[in-house]
């Protein structure tokens, strides 16, 4: 992956070379942290599967932010496509074949197809009304997963499957028992998806999405077919998040309806905002902070939900730009 590829298009401070250098610096830092995480996580009281969890939810949040931060359309129902990824992967592993790549592929297809169909239905809506319709559609998938007991295990969730080891021809990767190997497998998929996302955002198509976010009227009078571009962005974002969903199924060896529920959608949106929606890596940082914070709060009080809700309120009222957004602001000032 080329180093200059992944950056935050738009919102970046101008300044040519300085900007490019900062971008490379950011990339080196991010990848150094991610690649070395299994080494230092135990030293700071973490554990490898916590890192994997952050990676998966971070990917989901970044996929959502492709739509929220870079197209300017707020979906509050993206858990639907995440959850379809979870179930698509789980169902293949449970009923069809013990193949990790096929499971991921099935999740991608299931979430992607659903995102394509629903994106076409809602691409004409804007702002709060767009959010509202995404919420309502999410509920359909939740109901299907919840009610179709025979296939999905209903409320108790789908059990009885495990991720399968990867056979590469020359070697076998033990991702079942070895948490560290599994972490690097997830990181590999993460890197692929994030690279594709970054490349798209730097492409002419990606720029039209920024254009729609910045000023829909101007974009329309440049001749951009707004509805088609929003539809495409929605579809791509649901494919990306469905891949994250597939990884989530592999991580937990379990699929349950809460992975398609509104609460998860809200959590993914808060991860984006917490890290900074205008910054490419923001949602990953947001996911890390949110997961650790939630872990901490829920191990200290049974009323953790109250405090998690409090986090939402405090972030919205006092830190709407998010952590990286504030950092960038200070740097620019």
């Amino acid at each position: 992956m080329s180093a200059t590829v992944i950056q935050a298009p738009g919102g970046d401070a101008p300044g040519g070379q300085l900007q490019a250098r900062q971008r490379i610096l950011t990339l080196v830092m991010v990848w150094a942290i991610l690649l070395s995480a299994p080494l230092w996580l135990p030293l700071v009281g973490g554990y490898t599967s916590l890192g994997t969890r952050i990676l998966v939810l971070g990917l989901a949040a970044m996929a959502l932010n492709f739509l929220v931060g870079f197209t300017g359309m707020v979906s509050f129902g993206h858990a639907a496509y995440f959850g379809l990824g979870v179930y698509g992967c789980g169902l293949i592993l449970r009923y069809v074949t013990a193949s990790t790549p096929l499971g991921l592929l099935a999740g991608l297809v299931l979430g992607g197809v659903a995102g394509t169909v629903i994106g076409a239905l809602i691409a004409r809506r804007r702002g709060i009304y767009f959010a509202m319709v995404t919420i309502a559609f999410q509920e359909i998938f939740y109901f299907i997963a919840y009610k179709w007991n025979g296939l999905t295990g209903g409320f108790d969730g789908l059990r009885g499957f495990t991720r399968a080891n990867l056979h590469l021809g020359f070697a076998t990767l033990d991702i079942i028992k070895n948490d560290v190997v599994f972490y690097y497998f997830v990181l590999f998929i993460f890197a692929l998806v994030v690279a594709v996302m970054g490349l798209i955002l730097l492409s002419p198509f990606g720029r039209t999405l920024l254009a729609i976010r910045e000023n829909e009227r101007r974009a329309r009078f440049l001749g951009i077919n707004i509805e088609r571009h929003i539809w495409l962005a929605f579809t791509l974002s649901s494919i990306f998040i469905a891949i994250a969903g597939g990884l989530y199924a592999l991580l937990n060896n379990f699929a349950d309806p809460s992975s398609l529920y509104t609460d998860l959608s809200g959590e993914l949106v808060i991860m984006c905002v917490l890290g900074g929606i205008r910054v490419f890596w923001g949602p990953l940082l947001g996911a890390a902070v949110y997961v650790v914070l939630q872990d901490y709060i829920s191990s200290h009080t049974v009323n953790w939900l109250f405090f998690v809700g409090g986090v939402f309120v405090i972030v919205v009222l006092f830190f709407p730009r998010g952590l990286l957004g504030m950092l960038r602001r200070r740097r620019d000032a």
Binding site: Y129, M132, F137, G266, I277, N303
Partner: protein, 288 residues
């Protein structure tokens, strides 16, 4: 069989009545403040719990009014101190705020009144069945439907004939003009929010008498109420009313032939409406 159909229809009417109360409040807030109130279902539960706390002191009937009023007051304070600060900003912020508030209210109710369900006692003389054959008919349920009808008529009369109601309607159509006429839009939105919450609180007390109280009691009503608004057409309260009744009755009728499908049908209706008539029954062009 007739008994079964009547039973389900009547249940549909009751559920529809709750959808109407919840979705009208949500719709008022959405139309004037451009905010989706995720915490609406939790305000509903709060209304029920407040009635539970008040009944030993003032009895059922006064609580039916006082508990929703107290809920509305809490809603008013939350609107003024938090939600109003986000008007004019990207909708993502108000969505997240009410989402967080929903978590907080839900957990607060759980902390104060416990995880387990609580009964909300209804006066004895209205809780007995009226007939053996039609066991599902009791005075309380009839009374419940009556209260909802009266509240809805009252709401529409208020919006039509009172000065404030007219301002709210004008504000929904064109907030800038209303503001230019020197009307205090901020105050109007706060009071409108409180009205919406009052309806939620009222629904909470009524639902408590019907199915008892629990911290999540509003959740099952919240999402179908979103659907009622979408189906009825965003921006139109009459549309919301029709939407709420439609899905309530459709769900009940489906339950006669396919009990498991009564929840699903709500979303099928939504998908069909979005395909065939994207702006809903009475939605304004462009309000989408």
């Amino acid at each position: 069989m007739l008994q079964l159909i009547l039973f389900n229809l009547f249940n549909g009417l009751i559920i529809g009545a709750f959808y109407v109360l919840v979705s009208l409040g949500l719709s008022m807030i959405l139309n004037l403040s451009n905010v989706i109130n995720f915490a609406h279902g939790n305000f509903l539960a709060l209304g029920g719990y407040l009635a539970y706390a008040l009944i030993p002191f003032i009895g059922f009937w006064p609580s039916l009014l006082v508990a929703p009023l107290a809920t509305a007051l809490i809603g008013y304070v939350i609107e003024v101190t938090m939600i109003s600060r986000l008007y004019g900003r990207d909708p993502i912020y108000s969505l997240l705020l009410t989402f967080g508030l929903a978590f907080m209210l839900q957990d607060a109710c759980r902390y104060i009144w416990g995880v387990n369900g609580l009964p909300l006692s209804v006066p004895n003389n209205i809780s007995q069945p009226l007939s053996q054959t039609y066991f599902f008919l009791n005075a309380y349920r009839l009374f419940l439907v009556g209260i909802v009808v009266v509240s809805v008529l009252g709401l529409f009369a208020f919006l039509r004939y009172s000065r404030m109601g007219m301002r709210i309607r004008a504000g929904i159509l064109d907030l800038d003009t209303v503001s230019a006429l020197g009307i205090n839009v901020r105050m109007l939105r706060s009071l409108n929010f409180a009205f919406g919450i009052f309806l939620a609180g009222l629904a909470g007390v009524l639902a408590g008498g019907q199915i008892g109280l629990n911290p999540n009691m509003g959740d099952t009503l919240l999402l179908p109420s979103f659907v009622a608004i979408i189906v009825g057409g965003m921006g139109s309260l009459v549309g919301t009313l029709l939407g709420g009744l439609t899905i309530g009755v459709a769900a009940a009728l489906t339950a006669v032939v396919w009990p498991a499908g009564s929840d699903v049908v709500v979303y099928i209706i939504m998908a069909v409406v979005l395909l065939v008539r994207p702006r809903g029954f009475l939605g304004e062009e462009g309000m989408q």
